[in-house]
Amino acid sequence: MNNLFNWEPDRSKYPTVKDNGELDVDLSSHKFTKLWVGPNHPGITGNMAVEITISGDEIVQAKTHVGYLHRGFEKLIERRLFIQGFPTCIRMCVAEPDYNEYILSKSIEDLSGIEIPEMAEWLRTLALEMARLQSLLRTVPGQGGTFSLGLGVQWGMYLRDLISDRFEELTGARIYHMYILPGGVRGLLPDGFKARMEENLKLIDQFVINIKKLMFDNVIFKKRAIGVGVIKKEWVDQFGIVGPNARAVGISRDIRKDYPYLKYQELDFEPPIAKNGDIFARSTVRYQELIQTVDLIRQIMAKMPEKGDIKSPTPNVLHWKIAKGETYIRSESSRGEYGMYYVTDGSDKPRRINLRGPSYNHAMSLLEHMLINANISDVHAIMVSLQTCPPEIER
């Protein structure tokens, strides 16, 4: 009986290792099967595919494929005026448009030496934290979703919609906010915003309690998440792992703390960390971050001034030229370091922009590594636990 439940496949015989060190994966041997997970698959976030070779139900080889939504965002931005870049850049990670807006605007401001008003800094901080909250409300219960625990996802989506409502009244849009632009932001808080936000935050406080009972104190979730998809500590530097994925192996790495920007220095918070580096650890870190983000939004709303200028004067946006220069601007998105390398050459368009999204490291090289020896049913769980956002891989 005990053997039945603790049965482990005997992988000592295959795949055999060839003399040159490569695995001998011969499909005609009938010991291996190729399987595509994605690009259209409910378990894959966004459009990408993982090509796996399985032996039994265990993965022997994995390869990530992207290119299903390549629109050439960087090139599109390089061929447009500085101001025209920001409606395009947000599409580089649809789930959290504000980080795109922020790094692009900040790059332009940095290169042209523009300081933004204090009010705009607070509003930017608020928008970025709201984006994190919106993202975590989807991701935290989403991890349960990969194990068929759909209920938490429903709860999270409802609350995420409420935050979308707040975004709608602050920025004029629910998804593509287009709120942060070079020089500042596009509006003050509407009347009564803080009260409505507080109502939503109270609901999220309750959600945090409920989701713990539903997901984290759940024997099935624990069984499937603990010890699965482990990131080893030495991989963090090897693969350039950032954000919650790094914090879940005990490495405190957070741009908000390491390279403070906007108003984060004036906020009181300590990024949560965990030790084990498995799916459960990453979920726990994100869960703690969700609680912390709610607290941060409360802090921001309490500390921000009531009124002030929202935008600094900029050169005429229709023929704004920026002198030769280059900069790298980073911010801490909910997935980790989100940066932009921006080069200008004195013309009215950027010479080169390059987005450094965490998904590139996480979903391309790291995921291929982590999937080896994993069970086929854990592919989505591992991928989602890395919080992949495919558009930023192939921007």
Binding site: P87, G172, M178, K311, N316, H319
Partner: protein
């Protein structure tokens, strides 16, 4: 124990069964936030079709298209934005950049139509269900601008530093100031359409931004051979219609033009303008009058190889620019800079030649292939009120001419100027300076029929005249000049209620019970000028068409009924310098056509 908790705990979710669902029952019809970026609206009466929305749109979703019922006119391109919802991403940059504030978004976001063509529409013209929706995205506030709204102040001498001298008091932009001002331009080109000479204004402003002032000069000379002059005293109709002026100060187009001309040294003009080798075509054109129209015609004819001779009645060239505009606004050396360049192209001027008496027009007809006459309006008009024939009642144009000639004019302690145009302000401010030098104080009053808000003079002229302690008291119609013992005592006026009647004709109405008396011992009339075309003989006159009011009729190329005679400048259009320049340019094209194609 922990494991049992982990088995039971998820079942607490069943508690939701007894709770109210949070689902919205009717999701369609939910109103969006007041700031929502929904469908486009455009107030087409406010919109001027400047096209900045079209330029900023990163998706090229906006096209400016002609609309039935909207005519192209000064300050309005006659076009309106058409939006393609197959391309739009609702970023609302078009709203934020809109110069007039006419373009907004409603907060409506659902719309169903089976006709795909309907998704490409002209907001405000093609009726939509959201046209009356007041909510939605508008340009954010406060201090949210995509381009500078405030103009860079032109450095000037203070009133106390300038009110005794005829030295130029506007000092000109520095490089930094000019570039900052040039940055505000949105390159809509509304100005170009309105400028009588259709100068390439956005292009030369762009040249300033690029710090390519030689290119700037080339653009100026394409349409205007008198940039130093126009850069100082142009009536800048371009600035009146500037789209940036709708929600801020218009671009200082005139000062930017002056900046380009000032920065280019005259010795380099020929090289910059590529005018070093002009081939003579052997044809000769006579030009009567060296005012803006004559000089402009001479310049463009000379460029094409014509041999031009200008006949000037006065001892120096420039016409009204030299003899009608005071030196503090337009210094003589700057007039010379422009004129000398034109002369350097081989244009000849014969000074002190009076056509009609020294040489007849018929002689010119025989000796030259064509004749252009731009003799201007030099005859002063009188109010013809009782007492206006007194010897101490002068015409402004006569006095200004005498000042420019360097002759001493009669200046008394108390002067009244009748008139509210730029000439009236010129003589008022000139007399104020002379009074200051002679008596150490200013006592000159300018009065006009027109009330303050419709005074034809440039606003800055009125303001600056007041800074120089002249009194401007508009809204009065002169009735008589009181003369006692042969000396002027002053001017009687009555309140003017309106200047024009309902159909827009000059028909002043007065309140006879409301009168006023301006003390004065000298009066200057500046109510307009007339032309003197005595030099045109009866025989030629018969070939020329005149309208009922005695005005000469010309075709599009300023050609009269006598095919060889072209007339332009203040006589035909204006009066101002830029119309003269435009006329001269057009006439030069006409003369070229006439001579080469016998047209």
């Amino acid at each position: 124990m922990g494991k049992i908790k982990d088995i039971l705990s998820p079942f607490t979710a069943w508690g939701n069964v007894v709770k109210e669902p949070v689902t919205i029952k009717k999701p369609i019809g939910r109103e969006a936030a007041p700031r929502y970026r929904g469908f486009h609206k455009n107030d087409i009466d406010t919109c001027i079709g400047c096209g900045t929305c079209e330029v900023i749109c990163e998706n090229e979703a906006i096209d400016l298209v002609p609309v039935d019922g909207i005519e192209t006119k000064d300050g309005d391109s006659g076009l309106r934005p058409m939006i393609d919802y197959g391309r739009c991403c609702w970023c609302a940059l078009c709203v934020d950049v809109c110069t007039t504030g006419s373009l907004t978004l409603s907060n409506e976001y659902t719309w169903v139509s089976e006709d795909p063509d309907e998704f490409r529409f002209i907001p405000g013209v093609d009726k939509k269900s959201w046209d009356d929706n007041e909510k939605g995205w508008k340009k954010p506030e406060p201090n949210y601008e995509f381009y500078g709204k405030k103009r860079v102040e032109m450095p000037e001498l203070h009133a106390e530093d300038r009110d005794k001298s005829f030295i130029e008091f506007v000092t000109g932009y520095s490089k930094q100031q000019a570039e900052e001002e040039a940055d505000r331009c949105v390159e809509c080109g509304i100005c170009t359409a309105t400028c009588p000479a259709h100068m390439g204004i956005p292009e030369y402003i762009k040249a300033i931004r690029n710090d390519d002032l030689e290119e700037g000069l080339r653009i100026l000379y394409e349409t205007n051979p008198l940039p130093e002059i126009c850069g100082r005293i142009c009536t800048h109709k371009c600035e009146d219609v500037c789209s940036v002026g709708h929600n801020g100060d218009p671009i200082s187009i005139r000062w930017l033009k002056r900046y380009i001309a000032d920065q280019n040294p005259s010795e380099k003009y020929k090289e910059i303008l590529n005018a070093e080798n002009i081939e003579n075509n052997g044809k000769k054109v006579a030009i009567i009058g060296s005012g803006p129209s004559g000089l402009s015609a001479a310049y463009y004819l000379a460029l094409t190889g014509y041999e031009c001779t200008i006949f000037e009645k006065l001892p120096e060239a420039g016409g009204m620019m030299r003899y009608g505009i005071p030196e503090y606004r337009l210094p003589y050396d700057q007039i010379d800079k422009d004129i000398n360049y034109i002369l350097s192209l081989g244009v000849d001027i014969k000074y002190n030649v009076n056509i009609g008496t020294d040489i007849t027009l018929d002689k010119l007809k025989k000796d030259y292939d064509a004749v252009f006459a731009g003799t201007g309006l030099h005859l002063g008009r009188s109010t013809r009120i009782p007492g206006s024939d007194h010897e101490n009642v002068y015409f402004a144009t006569d006095l200004l001419r005498e000042i420019s000639l360097g002759n001493e004019i009669h200046v008394s302690e108390k002067i009244v100027v009748i008139g509210g145009g730029n000439v009236a302000m010129d003589i008022t401010r000139s007399l104020a300076r002379l009074q200051n030098n002679k008596f150490g104080k200013v006592n000159v009053t300018a009065t006009s029929l027109e009330s303050e808000d419709i005074m034809p003079a440039d606003r800055e002229e009125v303001v600056e005249a007041r800074e120089e302690k002249a009194i401007i008291d508009p809204g009065w119609g002169p009735t008589s000049i009181e003369i006692e013992n042969g000396k002027i005592k002053g001017l009687h006026v009555q309140k003017c209620l309106s200047v024009f009647d309902e159909s827009g004709r000059f028909n002043p109405k007065f309140d006879e019970s409301n009168t006023k008396f301006f003390e004065a011992d000298m009066i200057v009339e500046s109510i307009g000028q007339g032309m003197d075309v005595e030099y045109i003989s009866e025989e030629i006159r018969e070939q020329i068409e005149f309208d009922q009011r005695g005005r000469i009729q010309v075709n599009d190329y300023f050609q009269t009924g006598a095919k060889w005679l072209f007339i332009g400048g203040d006589i035909i259009q204006g009066p101002d310098v830029i119309h003269g320049i435009a006329n001269g340019h057009k006439a030069a094209i006409g003369i070229d056509k006439f001579i080469n194609q016998n047209g």
